[in-house]
Amino acid sequence: MLVWAGVYLTIVTAAVAIVLARREPTIVRGDWVFFLTSLFVLLAATVTVVRGDRVSLGVLVATVLLLLVGWYAQSRWWVIGVRPDAVTTTIEECAGRLCAPAASASGACTVTVPGGAIRLRIAPAGRSTVIVFVASAKHRKTQLFRRLLAKQYRSVMPTIRIGAPRAG
C-alpha cells in the first residue's frame, strides 16, 4: 500500500507543480478531485485484495481520511490566479449566455434556472478564488452552467495544442 500512496503523492505533486508553473488561470474542480481519488482508492484496494496483501489499520484510517477530504472538496472549485471580483463577472457572463438571470451580493451569487437556483459562495483564497456550490437545482441548465464556467479557465490536465487561427 505504501507504493500506492507514493504514486498518489507523485500525481498530486505533479498536478500542483503544473498549476503553479502556469501563467494562465487554472481551474481545480473538487468534484473531479473526489472522483479521481475514489477511482484511485478503488483500484488500489482491488489490486491489494486480488494479490492477497494485508492492509494495516493505519492505511485504512488514512484512506478514509483521504476520502473524507475528497468528499469535503467535491462541492468546491478553485480558480488559481484569479481574484473573486473577476470570477464573479465571469459567472454572471456565463449565466447570461445560458439565458439564466444572475444576482450577485458580496461573496455570493445566485443563478436562477427553471425549477430552482444555483447558489454559489465566492471567497478569496490568497491570490486565487474558491467557488462553493451551496445548492444546485436539478436542471440541464445547471450542468451547462458548470461546464461553461469550467471552460473559461484551463484545466489541470495539460492539453496538446494543434493548429492556430490565422492572424487578423
Binding site: H139, L144, K151, P165
Partner: protein, 144 residues
C-alpha cells in the same frame, strides 16, 4: 462529403432563437467540445464576419477560424470553417405545432490521407452524438 443533421422543437420565438444562435459567442454554452470563440470581427449576422474557435477533444485543443455565410432573421444562420477540416454549419428555424423546429445541419469534407480519414471517422461519431446533445442543450437554454 459527410453530413450530420439533428433537430429539436423549442417553445419560443423564432427571431429570438435565431438571434441567440447567430451570436457565436453563445456557442460554447451548447456545444460541449467547443471551448471558446474569440476575436469576432464584426456582427456575426453579416456575411464574411470571421472569428477564432477552439475545440477540445481527447486531451487535444484544435484551433481555427470560421466565417459567416448567411443570416435570415428568424429563419437561418450559416457559417463555414476556413481552416482545418472544411465544414459548413447551418442552423434553421421553422414553425412546428406551437413551437419552433430548430435544425443543425453540418456538412464536412473527409480529407484524403489514411490518418485524416481515421480522424474524420472518429469526428463523425462524435459529431452525431454531439449534434443530438447540442439541439437538446439549445432547447434547455431557450425553452420558455
Amino acid at each position: 462529403m459527410s453530413r450530420v443533421a439533428k433537430s429539436a422543437v423549442i417553445n419560443g420565438n423564432a427571431d429570438q432563437i435565431m438571434n441567440y444562435i447567430a451570436d457565436v459567442k453563445n456557442h460554447p454554452a451548447f456545444i460541449g467540445p467547443l471551448k471558446s470563440i474569440a476575436n469576432v470581427k464584426g456582427d456575426p449576422r453579416t456575411p464574411g464576419t470571421s472569428w477564432d474557435w477552439t475545440f477540445v477533444m481527447a486531451g487535444a485543443e484544435f484551433s481555427g477560424r470560421a466565417e459567416t455565410v448567411g443570416y435570415e432573421a428568424g429563419k437561418k444562420f450559416s457559417y463555414r470553417t476556413t481552416t482545418g477540416v472544411e465544414s459548413t454549419f447551418t442552423y434553421t428555424a421553422e414553425p412546428q405545432g406551437g413551437g419552433v423546429k430548430v435544425t443543425v445541419d453540418v456538412t464536412y469534407d473527409v480529407p484524403g490521407t489514411l490518418l485524416s480519414r481515421m480522424q474524420a471517422s472518429v469526428v463523425e461519431k462524435l459529431n452525431d452524438a454531439e449534434g443530438v446533445r447540442a439541439v437538446e442543450n439549445l432547447k434547455a437554454i431557450l425553452d420558455q
